[in-house]
Each structure stands twice: as C-alpha cells, then as structure tokens.
Symmetry: D2
Subunit: 253 residues, 4 copies
Amino acid sequence: VTALKTPAEVVDSCDVTHGMLSDPAASESVVFGDNGVLSAARAGRSYIDHSTIDEEAGQRIFDAVKGKGARFLSAPVSGGWRDAAKGELLFIAGGDRSLFDESSAPGAGMACMGHRHWFVGDSPGEAARAKLMLQIMMGSMVGALAETLALTERAGLDPTQILEMLDASAMSNPLCKAKGKLMVDGNFAPNFQVYLQQKDLRLTLALADKLAMPLPITAAVNAQYVAARQRGLADSDFAAVRGVYDNEGGEKR
Amino acid sequence: VTALKTPAEVVDSCDVTHGMLSDPAASESVVFGDNGVLSAARAGRSYIDHSTIDEEAGQRIFDAVKGKGARFLSAPVSGGWRDAAKGELLFIAGGDRSLFDESSAPGAGMACMGHRHWFVGDSPGEAARAKLMLQIMMGSMVGALAETLALTERAGLDPTQILEMLDASAMSNPLCKAKGKLMVDGNFAPNFQVYLQQKDLRLTLALADKLAMPLPITAAVNAQYVAARQRGLADSDFAAVRGVYDNEGGEKR
Amino acid sequence: VTALKTPAEVVDSCDVTHGMLSDPAASESVVFGDNGVLSAARAGRSYIDHSTIDEEAGQRIFDAVKGKGARFLSAPVSGGWRDAAKGELLFIAGGDRSLFDESSAPGAGMACMGHRHWFVGDSPGEAARAKLMLQIMMGSMVGALAETLALTERAGLDPTQILEMLDASAMSNPLCKAKGKLMVDGNFAPNFQVYLQQKDLRLTLALADKLAMPLPITAAVNAQYVAARQRGLADSDFAAVRGVYDNEGGEKR
Amino acid sequence: VTALKTPAEVVDSCDVTHGMLSDPAASESVVFGDNGVLSAARAGRSYIDHSTIDEEAGQRIFDAVKGKGARFLSAPVSGGWRDAAKGELLFIAGGDRSLFDESSAPGAGMACMGHRHWFVGDSPGEAARAKLMLQIMMGSMVGALAETLALTERAGLDPTQILEMLDASAMSNPLCKAKGKLMVDGNFAPNFQVYLQQKDLRLTLALADKLAMPLPITAAVNAQYVAARQRGLADSDFAAVRGVYDNEGGEKR
C-alpha cells in the first residue's frame, strides 16, 4: 500500500477515487482546496464522495468536477465501519449514472464495500434528499418510542415488558430495540447525537417548506429534539429525547 | 366436541373458561347477561377473557367474577387466527396472577395458543393500558411513514426505493413494510381501520391527560387520523392516513 | 327580601327562577334533589340555569323540566360579579326560545343583569358548545403569548416592550395585556386555573373528535397546559403555562 | 419640493435620510448600488431604513454605513399609509441610539410620522427579531381563530354569533374581528398574504431553533399555513388558512 500525499495525486493515479469525509466543509475542502480533487480532475477520471453532504455542497462539487470533464457521484452510506468490513454498507447515490453502474457492478468499488446500492437521481441533491427521508423516519420512531416509554412509566407499567412486546410484534426493529434499552437504562453515551438528529429534522422541514408540504408530525417531533437541546442534551445520543418527558415536582391533578 | 348452549353451561362444566368477543359490550353481555358467566361463577371456576376491552369494562367484570369467588384474567391477544393456529399468539394479561401462571404453563390453555405471555399487573386495566402502548407506537410509526412517503413523492423521489432503504436499515420492520406497500399501491382495503386506530389514540391521550403527561407527538399523529376520518376514510385501513397529505390544486409557492 | 328555604319554594312562588351554581353536580342537585326545582316545576313555571354546565347535564335537566310542563333555558354567563352589578354580563343561551325572548326583553331578568344576550340553539348543549369556542380561543391566545414571551426573553429582547407593541397593534386585547403582565411578573395567583383551562381544551378536543374535525393547533396548545399540570402548576392561573418554556441547565447548541 | 435623482444626492443634502423600500433586496440595492447611500455616507450624515429587513441584511447595511462614519438605524414600521398620514405609525428600532433619540423627539422625523417608538437594541437584528415576535402572535391568533370557526360550523353553531361573543369578551381585538369577518364571508382578497405570514413563521422557527427554544404551538400553526400554500392559497390573505379545515366528502364517523 502506498499512501499518496494529496487528493490530486490520488485522482491522478486512479481511474476512480473514493472520498469519505466528516462533513460538507471537509468534502468541499478536499475538492476545492490546494492540490484538491479538482486540480487533477479530467476526462477519464471519476470521483465518488461517500460523505453525507447537503444538497448545495453536493451540487457545487458536481458542477465543478463535471466542468473539468470528469464524472462525479455523491453516494452517502448508511452503516458503520463494521458493516464496511463485511461489505454490508448501503449506498444511496445521485449524480453520474454510468459511474454508479460501473462501481456497483460485481467486483467494483461500491460492490466490495456494500451489498445494496440505490441510484436515486441524476444529481447529488437527490441522494441528500433520500437520506433525509430515512432520517425523519428515524427521528419520528425514536421520538414516538420516547413518548410511549414515558407514558408507560407514568402509567405504572414496566417499560422492559413493553419493549419485549414491541419486539415480539410486527413493529419489531433493531433501532427501537437498541434505543429502547438505552432509554430504560438512562444510558445516553452518544452514537448519533441529539443535535445531529435535530439538524436532519430541520433540513427536512426546510425542504418540505420549500415544496409547500405540511409535516405536522415531523414538526412536533422536531420540537421535542429542540427541547432536548434546550435541556443541555445536544451532545447525548438522540435516545436522550426521552428526558424531555421527565419533569420534577409534577403532580397528577 | 359438544357445543354447549350458554356461557353458564360452559363455566359450569369447565375449570377454566376462555372467552374471545368482538368488543367490550359483547364481553359484558356474555358475563352479565342471562345465563351468563356470572350466573355459574363460583369458587374453583376461572374465566379468562381474551377480548380487547377498556379499563372500566374489564374492572367491572373482574369485580363481579371475584365477588362470586371465581378467578378472572383479562388477557387480550396480539395476532390473528393464523397465529392462533400455529400457537403463536401474544398474550398481555392482567388480573389473577395464579390463573395466569397456570394457564401459561406448558400444556395449558394460553400456552397452546401462544408463545409469549406477559403478566403486567393485578388488574385488567393494566392489560388494557399495555395494549394502548403498542397501539400508539403503531399509530405513530404508520403516521410518520405516511408523512415520509408524501414528502418523498413531493420531492420527486421514488417511494418504492425509499421503502427498500428503510427495509434494509436498522428501522426495518414488518409493519412499515406492509403498510408502506399499501400506501404506494393506494390499496386501503381494511385490515385495521382508521377509526379503530384513532380510537386507540384517543383512549391513550385520555389516559395521558388523566396522568398529566403531555404527548405532543401522539397529539399531532392523532390529528392526522381524525383528518382521515374527516375525509371519509374512517373505514379504510389505517394506512389510508397517507391520503391526508394529498391536496389537489396545490401550488408550490 | 324574603329568603326562601328550598328551590321548590322559589319555583313555587316565582314565574321565573334563576339559578347560578358552582358546577354541574350542584346544578343537578338543585334540580333533582329533595325539594328541588323539579318537585315544583309545572306549566307556567320557568327555570333558567346560569351555571356553566356540560352538554349531558344540561340535557338531563332540560328533559326533566320540560317533562313537567315547565320551560328551561341554560344561559351560562361570561363575566364576574363586578359585571353583574353593572348589568354588563354576557349571556349565551340554549333551550326554550320564548323564555329567552321574555327574559332578555327590557326590564326582564337577564336584561337587568347583562347587556348582551345570544340565543344559540334549542338545546342546552348548544350553549355549552358555544362557550367552549370562547375557551379554546382563550387557551390558544394565552398559549401563543407564553410561547412568544419565552422566545422574546431567549432572544435577548425586553418582554415588557413586546407587550407594549402588542397593545399598540391591531392585536391589542385586555386578556393578553393582563396575562402578559402576569407572565412578566411571574405572578400566577389563580384567577382561572390551569386545570380548568385544560379541562375546557380537553372537552373541545373530545367534541371535535366526535365531529371528525382535526384541531392540530388546539392539540398542541392542550399539550402545553397538560405539561403545566405535569410541573405542578394545575392550581395556578393559566398564565402559568409560561413556565413550561423554562428549562434550567439548558445550553444553546 | 425638489426630487433628487439618487440616494447619494439625498444623503449629501440632508442630515437625516429616511428610506422605506419594498424588501431587503431593495434596501441593500439603495445602499450598496451605484450612487447609493453608501457613496455619500460620512460623519455627520444619518440614514434610517424603515423597511422590514432580515437580521443579516440589516447588519450588512449597519456595518457599511458605520464604516463610513455615518449613523444607521433600522426602524421598521407597523401600520399602513393611512396611519402614516395621521402620524400614527409604530416604529420598532434597532441600531444607533442617539439617532433614535433625536428622530423620535418632538418635531423630528419619526415623531411626525408615528406616535409610538421603541428602541429595542443596539443592532438592526434586534428590531428584526422584535417584529417577528409580533408576527408569530398574529399568525397564531388568526390560526386559532380559523380552527375555532371551523369547529363552530362543524358543531352547528353560527360563526357570526361566536365572533360577536369574542368581540364582547376580554379577547376582543381588531385583528380577529376583521379576519373573522373575512373567514365568514369567504373573502380572501389579500391584505397580508399567506406566503408572507408563513415566511415570518418560518423565520421565527429558524431563530428559535438557533436559540434551542422549542415552539410546539408555532410549529403546529406554521404547518397550517404551509398546508394553505399546498392548497394554492399562497397569494390569498392569510385569513384563508381557514380553508385548510374544509375537506369535501368527509363523513362524521
């Protein structure tokens, strides 16, 4: 293995370059910075960014890379490093269709790292939007679970039993199972933080606003995650939204 | 097999009698009516009602049966007749603990019909409350799914792809998979009707009100099911809540 | 002035009897109790109840009094004893139309006590419903004011200035002026308690549910008053809903 | 009266220049454009912008004008041209305090045009925020009124009577009186459009999000105005939010 020094060197020596950065700013810096992807991009070269980036940043990179004659695909992943090692990541891709087809073909880059690949549209924005759809379901399911478990305790029932019932029902899913346990244990060491979950809800509500689509459930869910931030839980795992339902000194009149 | 003529005859000839009626009124009529359960109830006899009944009706039956020296258990089920045939029903029970223990022991009544049994408390009300906890999760998950798929379409994405992604994620669950397909197909032949789902949300909000527990997410979800009733969808499957998000003639300003 | 001993004596000696009791139970007891209104009701006698009673209690009284050949009007008031002394109460009436017309004519009973009289329908229930309409506006306006003032403070603005602006605008109204001052002062000595305001919101949501009318704004408002009860503010003035927005230890991330 | 040709000429010949433009873009163009305010701004000159501008645009103008040694005040108004003619505008000002004091002193500019002047803070942003506080109250009051009148009709009551009662109560205010009449008449010729009201709600929710302040009532209200846009009512008066509650073909089950 040879470690190259700059993004430009990588792009220069590979047909297809994959990037996975921590946030949109990092994604843009790797492309637009000194010795960045852009400085080496040319016809015959391809760049796939697996970071989760917003619609606007994705479009700027797409336009710039295409402008150099190279191909670009925004292909954010769902899953963690364990999934990557097993080749079980999920890819949600938007941008250049031919690049998607090549890289998800057996033996190619995205096929080695993951077992599901969706091409959702001809622009990075569509990949970003598709990821938001997953995020609001995630926020809503965990918000509803928090509300259910809070009422469960208030009603004198055993939350662990209720979680067992959920897990034995048609609603059974790994997310609620894991987050439900964290809520019962009061263990909110961050896996995915409140502030990140709420950011995705905010972006989704902004998208819906632009499209004149009312999202009253998501709006109510969002208010609970904002309330979690208000209580100082921004950096806790988003299961900590459970805490919003606890209020000391309350009576039951 | 001998079919007996009245509930009283059944109770008279069996140690443990199981009832499964269509609604609370039927449950009460079988107990309190002429030649009902109550007229034969006595020490040494036991009655288990598997109907989904409200807290108050359950308590009335419990008090009356106990008053005759017999034992009572409210043990509503989750699952349908297919599950019953396979012995895979779920039982959520409240009332007489010894009766629960006996009937869920290997070879006994509830053990033959189901593979999971939870004893949630010493009164029928606790079984009723536990079932409501499952119902609000169900209503919220399907409400959030409707909202997500409505935005998905509005945003120009393919709802079938989004459902595939959900199903490949940690959120994967049979309920959303089934209801999501119904929403995409616009097929709302009733399995569990809008008006029944909304009734459970209403009962849960009433319970929470009594306990001074605010449920803002459930309240927003409930408003969407009421809106479905307003549009004439009361008797459709509750996945029809998806229709609330469609409004003809809208622009995107 | 002669004080008579029982409701029956009053009804017996007067053409029109006015009652104003503390709650529906008291209203029913005065009518149905020993030596109650009902025992003296007969053709030629009329009874007007100015208490705020629920739809069902009003209907029971109406049916019973009518059954004796007498006339009945449910005419709850808006306003306090100061208004009564000045003849400035407001009457919202439902029931017997001829009785309403007579008693609101110049010089007659309701005309002496009040200066506005509305006949809203031929049953007491319609008067009860009309009062609920006022109550949800009241709950929503004060809830929105609480939210506005909470954000005002969080945004570093002066709530007293904002209240002055509101009062100088087309939104100016005595209710918000009074409740806004209580919120700024943190003075929640009860005039109309949180639990009473929330009860009216609950009744309204129940009415709307029956009519399949979604009330998403009222539902969100209601959750805030329930949250106030959760915090032990049930017996404070309903302006105390402002307190729901304060959460110690919060950061601004 | 001499009409000068450019903003620069006006600033050059007057101690204090007042601007009132249609939107933030116009405000910025008058300042930063060719022969704009900025090109003539210098020590001894003052500029007051009465437009409703957002926090960021206000700050850019403030910084630029101050940078030239001149004074700047953002002083958006509440009220229309009729109020201006009578000297009854309201001014909500943020920026240079000495300029505010001078211009609101008897006989000076803002004193001639208006009778109430509030200085809310040392930056234009604070004036913008204060105006948003008024806007969310306005949106919430009219949203709650729409909900109340929709339920009123559904419950078989007369909305005109309910409006009379509101107007006779402590809630009486010119805004609800006017908008209530529009709702009953179904007359939504625009005075202040749905899309403008919803824009202010959106900006307020964004501000609250930044400050980690949950606004569940405003979020529910906002969803109703978005729903109005979805139905093609963006350009109607914001009282048209009433239409969101009408759904043809609904039953009452």
